[in-house]
Amino acid sequence: MALSAAVLLAGALALTSFSASTEARQPSELVNATPTPGAKYQLVGKVVKGYETKGETTYFRVRDRDGTVSVPVTYAGRLPDPFRADREIVIDVVKQGDVYVGQVGTLITKCPSKFTADKTDS
């Protein structure tokens, strides 16, 4: 009985997760593979220097964690306090024209205790 319940739970989890999940992409992946119009993506990367806020909308570019390819993003929500150039962010975006529009309330920045330089071998 326990095994059957576990299999049922795993099956339901798998079905729900795949149907309700958001694809995570870095800017270069969005640039290289044409994104589906209207589809939501979870954009992961670092903020490029030189962003600006006009009225309630902030205009910025997000680049790969370890690269220079970037995409333009607009965000009409409130910016988290640690939002800065070179900080890693995660934001849900939908492509509209040439710009990726950030979904309000989805922009998050890394916890400040983890602001360290990357130390990968690559």
């Binding site: 997760s17 995570a24 998050i108 890394k110 205790s113 983890k114 130390k119 071998d121």
Partner: protein
Amino acid sequence: MINAGHACLIVAFAAALYGIAASLYGARAQRRDFVASGRRAAYAMAGATAVAFVLLEAAFVRSDFEYAVVASHSSTTTPLFYRLTAMWSSQEGSLLLWLFSLGLWSSIILFITRHKLRALAPYATAVLLGFAAFFAGVMLFGESPFTRAERIVAEGAGLNPLLRDPGMMIHPPMLYSGYTLFAVPFAFAIAALITRRLDAEWIRSTRPFTLAAWCALGFGIVLGARWSYHELDWGGYWMWDPVENASLMPWLTATAFLHSVMIQERRGMLRTWNVSLVLGTGVLAILGTFLVRSGVLNSIHAFGASTLGLPFLILLAVMIAGSIFLVASRQDALKSEHRLDSLLSREAIFLLNNFVLVALCFVVFWGTFFPLIAEAFTGRQRNIGPPVYERFIVPLALILVLLAAIGPVIAWRRATAANLKRNLGGPALLGVVVLVVLLALGVTESVTALIMFTFGAFVVGTVMQEFWRGTRARRAVAKESVPVALAQLIKRNRRRYGGYVVHVGIVVIFVGVAASSSFKDVRDVALNPGQSATVGGKEFTYVKPTSELVAAPNGRLERIVFGAELRVNGKIMHTSKDYFPSQDTSLGPVSRFFDGEATTEVALDASLGKDTWAAVAPDIAKLRPQIEEGDKVFGNAADELSDDQANEFLAVALQGLTDAYADNPPPARFRLEVNPLVTWIWIGSLIAVLGGILAGWPAKRGLTKIASAKYAARVGKEVREPETESVPA
């Protein structure tokens, strides 16, 4: 001093390696002197680590920027309290805190068991020192906190302002204590498997550590939730972040273990299950550390991708493979003494409770690792959000609370209809009364919240009934007053009544979570001074802007504050955004005060009912022309002014800017929230910790013997007469 610290790490590493060898040789060759030497090596490891810990803390206190880690995580303007906490805000310092905690707990358990568990202790010592050698090695060969700065700077980068919260002093050490305390039952479980001594003795000896780990990790998680609730944009008290989840998983399996172990102690059942839960909890504790330090998953709480991922992955692989091998090869010694007699029994309810807790852990594990699972199947990482978690967690949590109501009062072996009616009738009626009252009050927006409140009342009813019956029985026998009878009742069976208190605490937490997530009101608005907005039935009025310059204890400017005074239903509240100067020399002399780190100070009026929460985002864009003008003026005059003159004029200029903001304020943006019953989460956690301490507090030996004898008599009676209800010892 850097060399002394580094030497301490070398000593700790060498002592750990020696201790492993001495303990294993002593166990194999039956040489007690080597076993004792291995144990002393653990003390030496702990001592050397403690000295290293103190040396590093001293470096933070005196702002010794010769240490690279001090220069990058502290500064002279960082207040002393936060200089002490800055150590574990770094990867290197947090590794040392891990080792320090491990050394402390390992020494205590090895000291306590120095005259008992003789067969198990040397193997447990080797496992504990194995963890110590790993962490000391990671620091020595990877991320050492005793690395010399490439050049000594006059001022450090400072502790990030968002981390300047009292939570920083307690939250990380509590989490690390939880993780490292779980190493103790893990080590003794491995030792029990190696030696095939799989009775309940090792469980009894390590039980206080398992309970302490459960309390510390649970309290650490709640402290993190409370801190997050106070900060803007940290997602409220819980956001299903991978690292948050990683701390929850071992807590869930440990909770399952603390329940199922009672079945092993009483009836000799579930040995394989229990040892697997302990081993699984140990593995999950390391998994959490791996997630924080590997960068394998996108988490706001994970360090950037680092070289530590591989060593932790290897450690995890060794732990998992070793655990599976030992459990599989000891099946003969892990056989249960009895089988389940009935599905309507305490054993069955505890087992179901375990399935639910493990299912909760599985859901959290699945959601946490889903990006990697999805990548394995589709080639791309995919993430799931809170709605997916909640779809599975909510029904499981409801079942768990229902079981918490039934489990403590249902009879062992086989319950009868009469037993169920007598023990569950009253509490169930209380649940129904609460449901009817809530429906009459019009609380109909969330069905799941209503069910949770009903089940919660059911649990509280069973606990109250148990306390009442026990007190009444004592009064009848010992002729004591109610308070004395109650105190004696708890004193003589702390484990049982402490457990009941924990149940109440957990229910209070669940009720708080259900209410705050179902009935929360949030609005983002822009207001001019004098304007109001209504949220959750409360009127928020923006009374006036505020601004000030705040100096550090050493006289330097620490931050500039732009805020707002709000009036909420007649009560005055303050929220602000604090701007800390940047150390970036490429910024202008004035703009560096506005382009550094910033932190929002939330206005919070907490109560047992509804919390009022507000955060301001002042618009300083209108000050930009003046800031740029200031950069030009001070840039041009840099050569003509002395440092003192420059600082004096700069202070005047900044004061002018803050006055300009206060005199002619632009509209400010606010996030306004009304959150019901959040305070219940914090109160519930305190009750649960209190219950955990009560349950784990060692009883006096004489009392234990008396209680055990009475308990044995009672269990024997129940075994002979399964329909008999349980009575307190």
